[in-house]
Symmetry: D2
Subunit: 112 residues, 4 copies
């Protein structure tokens, strides 16, 4: 899946509707928080490990699409290279959580 | 940028650290909301259209990487095809906001 | 505990620091979402029913104070009477969730 | 307005409906984030300083009531004394943001 293609289509979609004026980074960050809240709402009262049904899957797909869409639009507006940002985060996390140490902590958690 | 490759690397990273046990859809939805809150915090007191500096760009890149990472992990756990979900959303939005109508509303907003 | 007294003290605190200029309803709604995200972060990887320790209690107290503070400031800016709003919500919820029906649903959930 | 009275009524309301089983601190923190997202949604595309109309006021009142209700329920479950928590936060903030320093920063912001 190619994020650049989605980005182009999103920019065109907004441009055609004169929506760019509303798409400040601050407003798009608000949109991301709003959509993340809507995704979370689906799981609000569900036990952590209930098998989810078709209805949950359908609603979650819609919210995750909104989140991805706003994340891409935000990155466009801020000139963020999402691929580079993710690769950098991988590097940070690999140093921050070395395999052996992380395994030990996970095991302890598991015994809570 | 290829989401499938990131997904594989993320799954391997979590597996190596025994972290899969924590990655229920509910917990990953919580993580998305937490990260969206951290992104929003950057803009909390900034005027809507202030030009952002290098520091804001750097912090925003980190948060957007976290959001993308959790969105991909969530989709893996829920068997959501992100590409399909985004394409479906495009279709919905193109019907919901026809160009002419959307332009009219945007214009009115603009005159507020 | 008297919300009006806290409200007065909060307004004075902001006024003394020339902070009122930043306290638009939109910005205060952002602050509430940011603080709710920080509260949620505490529980991000904790199992739902782990007994919480002193550290969790301490951090949760701080976040809940921030949430209450911003909720009061927001209400002041929007001329919302919090007491009236809560009493109205009670009425709505009592009609929406009659005791007998709600009990039945809770029982079914419980058997999941 | 007396938070203790609301707290008692909320506990009774939940108890009557067998809802206590769902009200873990983790779930109530989720509810707070969800409601904060709903409050934020109202302002998502509004310019920061638009005068708000009756409709915005009405919807904001409902969301702020939900936020206060969940904050009180969360505090009950965690044995948090909200009054004490707010007073402590006042003390922290008064030391963290001394009047003269805060004024200076606000003035600089204002000139952006």
């Amino acid at each position: 899946m190619d994020i650049e293609d989605i980005a182009k289509r999103l920019m065109k979609f907004a441009e055609d509707r004169y929506w760019e004026q509303f798409h400040s980074p601050k407003n798009l960050a608000i949109s991301l928080a709003v959509e993340a809240g809507e995704l979370l709402e689906i799981f609000q009262w569900l036990p952590e490990n209930t098998p989810y049904d078709e209805n949950v899957h359908e609603k979650a797909s819609e919210e995750i699409a909104d989140i991805l869409i706003y994340a891409i639009m935000f990155s466009q507006k801020m000139n963020i290279d999402m691929k580079k940002a993710v690769l950098k985060k991988f590097e940070v996390n690999e140093n921050k959580y070395p395999v052996d140490k992380a395994k030990g902590i996970a095991k302890k958690y598991n015994e809570l």
